[in-house]
Symmetry: C2
Subunit: 152 residues, 2 copies
DNA sequence: TATTTCAAACGAATAATTTTTGGTTTATAC
DNA sequence: GTATAAACCAAAAATTATTCGTTTGAAATA
């Protein structure tokens, strides 16, 4: 079995990275191999774990999510159990888009979208700061945010 | 024409947000309306701009992208033209996953994946710092990163 | 050089899904 | 109560995905 990825595989990943809803046929046409071959490759890429899923992009503003922020969070302990607890809790907080566990000044960075400043206030004061291992949070507004995906 | 979204629309968006490759049939089954109605709704959601696209998620480590960082960037000017220039340039830099334009201490935050520390060094010194309006950059390692998408 | 091997590519048939269509029902405004 | 538009449902048509047997091509071996 082929072990590394060849350029066709990279092309497939790259196409799907930017448009996960491309059909097999469309991909086959773009990379110029048979539909069945494209299908085989995508299946293998999925089985081997190169392709892990796909997210739709939605218009947050149209949904009333007018405020987008980055929240830098410091914990007062970095024990494994506390980290795990925070990841679990934070993943369930409404408004959280993405969570980063950081090795640096902040322990976590949360990318969050909320409707308005009241909701933001509630998020920080009622949801986050009530976790007793939170040392501090620092909130910064996002003016604009672009998915670039320039990694292939 | 219906203007706001009802709960079925929200369900559709929510399902696609977490799995953009769900078929029309699967969605119809989950939200318990006819396939054709689901189809109509998705078509409208797309036409009206609620659904904007979809990204595949790929396994970065398997592709040799072993280092993931957050780069906080300050510019020495915030003129519109410079902001636009930076967004354009940064979007084309290999390794950039996501770009945030911030209203705060940093002007931009870049989420970047690279192969190794040499590539990171090249990214910062050769690609970024050569832009003459860059005042400073601060790099922090990402230990773990989760897409949560808890917004619907 | 010929032969074997094996994964990938191919092509065509089948299965499944999506798209379209048209008639019926439902909701709302007048 | 009627008119109108949208939503719904079910069936047919078109398109796409999947399967599988065959062929091709490249590398390894005799």
């Amino acid at each position: 079995m082929r072990n590394e990825l060849d350029s066709k595989d990279i092309q497939i990943l790259s196409l799907l990275l930017n448009n996960a809803r491309l059909s097999n046929k469309e991909i086959a046409a773009k990379i110029e191999i048979a539909q069945s071959s494209t299908h085989d490759r995508i299946k293998k890429l999925t089985q081997k774990g190169y392709l892990k899923g796909a997210f739709a992009q939605i218009d947050q503003k149209k949904l009333g999510l007018n405020i987008e922020v980055i929240l830098a969070i410091k914990l007062n302990k970095q024990h494994r159990a506390i980290i795990a607890d925070f990841i679990e809790k934070a993943s369930q907080l409404p408004g959280v888009i993405q969570l980063f566990h950081m090795a640096g000044n902040s322990d976590f960075i949360l990318h969050v979208a909320v409707k308005d400043s009241d909701e933001l206030r509630g998020f920080i004061l009622d949801r986050l700061s009530t976790l007793d291992y939170i040392q501090s949070t620092e909130t910064t507004m996002v003016l604009h945010n672009e998915r670039v995906n320039n990694i292939l």
